[in-house]
């Protein structure tokens, strides 16, 4: 009797142990496959970036070898960039300043124009405001590069060619629609009763905008501000077309200038590229959470 009970119990227990072991083994297997896949992915992601760092650490003669690792790594190229020690780089810090100036102006104007428009549309419910939000949406889905040629001609007739403000105008034009999109989506989560009670207390629209709307919109302001800043810093085509003199150029235009020379100094170029890429990288990782939240709030744009 007891033997049969034991056998009855022990058989399922034994089978369960075996099943658990195979399940665990399968889990290890999938985990191992996942790790292997992850490593492949890291190689895929890092390769062009590794190439950038590798070339920037090489000397000019080492660039033209079959090395896959810098044979004599040195930061000499970075020193050349920082001290403007090459004729393509003679205005590097001035150009860096231009990029910062454009970035700051685009961020400020995008936030200002975007919040004012969304306040008028979403909070004050101006009649036919939907027309304006549709106009913004339309701008958002038109590729900027398709408007580049007429835009260039128009800037010439406005007398703004080779002027940083023409670039600022272009980039505000293409960053603000995203801002309006995000602001009006985020604004829906702020109760309209706040505005109404302030109105009853006699607050003017401008007071409501500054005292209630802007503070409540802070997270969306960070998301859109980061977006606008990165767009202005990273954009190339309009800056290339609109800025031509060395003193008015921004960093990306100056960087692409290197390609014009017959035997490009690739190590200086890659060092410049890294110095140029570091600020947006830092900003990106600092505001990553907010940016991702902004993207998934409804707007999606590269």
């Amino acid at each position: 009797m007891s033997a049969t009970v034991l056998s009855r119990v022990s058989i399922p227990a034994h089978a369960a142990g075996q099943a658990g072991r195979t399940a665990r083994r399968r889990r290890y297997m999938t985990e191992a496959v996942a790790v292997g896949f992850g490593m492949l992915m890291v190689v895929w992601t890092i390769l062009p970036l590794y190439n950038m760092v590798m070339v920037s650490l090489e000397s000019h003669s080492d660039v033209f070898t079959d090395a896959v690792w810098p044979p004599h790594p040195s930061v000499a190229s970075f020193w050349i960039v920082v001290t403007e020690g090459y004729w393509y780089l003679e205005y590097f810090w001035h150009q860096f300043g231009n990029s910062l100036y454009v970035g700051a102006a685009v961020t400020f104007l995008t936030l200002l124009i975007g919040t004012l428009a969304s306040f008028s549309i979403g909070r004050m419910r101006i009649r036919y405001g939907w027309l304006v939000s549709n106009a913004a949406l339309l701008t958002y889905v038109i590729p900027a590069s398709f408007l580049a040629i007429p835009f260039y001609r128009i800037m010439q007739t406005y007398g703004l060619s080779n002027n940083l403000w023409s670039v600022i105008a272009a980039e505000v034009t293409f960053a603000t629609p995203y801002g309006i999109f995000i602001f009006s989506q985020y604004g829906r989560s702020i109760p309209i009763e706040l505005d109404e009670s302030a109105r009853i207390d006699g607050a003017t629209p401008i007071q409501i905008y500054f005292r209630i709307y802007l503070p409540m919109m802070a997270p969306a302001l960070v998301a859109v501000g980061t977006y606008a800043l990165l767009l202005a810093w990273n954009e190339y085509l309009y800056q290339f077309l609109l800025l031509s003199s060395k003193r008015s150029m921004t960093v990306p235009v100056a960087l692409a200038q290197f390609l014009n020379s017959d035997e490009a100094p690739w190590n200086y170029m890659m060092a410049t590229a890294i110095v140029y890429a570091l600020p947006p990288l830092a900003i990106y990782y600092a505001f990553r959470g907010r940016m991702t939240a902004g993207l998934t709030m409804g707007g999606v744009k590269g």
């Binding site: 306040f119 101006i126 590729p143 003017t204 990553r288 999606v300």
Partner: protein, 304 residues
């Protein structure tokens, strides 16, 4: 007499007053002025920098003669084929891989989070430096790829940028490398928004991973995936950098897409009208996409 004039005047005054009331809605007079003042800056930006250039562009590209010379140009014919290939392959491959990758990043564990931080690097770094880096990396003589190839196989690799198809493939590779992380993050957010209960219920019912995908993930992600694909198609159509810096349209102008050909015609050949015409020839593809997207995005907050 007096009453008649009142009768005569009243409808006119009333209609003006009602139009005024209609326009300002529930806003008081001074508030309406503010509302107008707040919206004017954006309207001004839109009219000056979108409507005016767009109309100017339409006017520049309005002559039919432009299109006969454009379509007869063999470079343009190559470009049209390249653009369609670039769109068809780059967009679909990128979105499909992004969908798979977003599934991978749903895994738990600290190392997956670290991996995600590394994985988004291509998107976080500006496009220009990385495309220039890829351009040099694919150099047939001294590029990193062929150096590795040589060390592994003791043989010279192909010259990636010297033939039309390899060069176009390289540009597609660069585009996917740059933009896949972005769409992965979007689709990952879409997956995260699916309530965990659904997976739990499916597990109780004994659904396998594949059946979970077919019955839960796919129906709930389908709309997002569609919007992302359409949006990505438009953005890819306007992608200038990944062609311009990786292949430069070369060799022998065989790898241009419409975005780069327009700029080339306008600024290298100094024929802006031809450049506009090249860009405008994408309108039959673009207009339906824009219309569908506008409809989808207007209601997007419900789905996303």
């Amino acid at each position: 007499m007096a009453s008649a004039s009142v009768l005569e005047f009243a409808p006119h005054a009333a209609s003006q007053a009602s139009l005024w009331r209609h326009l300002r809605g529930s806003l008081k007079g001074s508030e309406y002025t503010w509302a107008i003042a707040f919206i004017v800056p954006y309207v001004a930006v839109f009219v000056t920098f979108v409507v005016y250039p767009a109309c100017y562009g339409l006017w520049m590209g309005s002559s039919p003669a432009l299109y006969t010379s454009l379509f007869a140009d063999p470079i343009y014919q190559d470009t049209a084929v390249n653009t369609l290939l670039f769109l068809g392959i780059a967009v679909n491959l990128k979105m499909f891989c992004a969908l798979l990758m977003s599934g991978f990043f749903m895994r738990r564990g600290w190392w997956v989070k670290v991996l995600l931080m590394i994985y988004v690097l291509p998107w976080a770094v500006p496009a220009l430096p990385t495309f220039i880096s890829i351009h040099w990396m694919l150099n047939g003589d001294w590029g990193l790829i062929n150096n590795i190839f040589y060390h592994v196989f003791q043989e010279d690799g192909p010259s990636w940028l010297n033939g039309r198809w390899l060069a176009l493939g390289s540009a597609i590779y660069s585009h996917i490398w740059k933009w896949m992380p972005f769409w992965t993050v979007i689709l990952l957010a879409g997956r995260m928004a699916i309530p965990q209960d659904l997976y739990d219920a499916a597990k109780v019912d004994g659904a396998s991973g594949w059946r979970q995908f077919v019955h839960i993930n796919f129906p709930l992600l389908a709309n997002l995936y569609l919007i992302c694909t359409l949006l990505s198609t438009i953005f890819t159509l306007g992608d200038f950098n990944s062609i311009y810096f990786v292949t430069g349209g070369g060799p022998a102008n065989m790898t241009h897409v419409l975005a780069t050909l327009g700029i080339r015609d306008a600024f290298e050949l100094a024929q802006p009208r031809l450049g506009v015409a090249a860009v405008m020839s994408a309108l039959p593809l673009m207009i339906p996409l824009v219309i569908i997207l506008m409809r989808k995005l207007r209601t997007a907050e419900v789905q996303l």
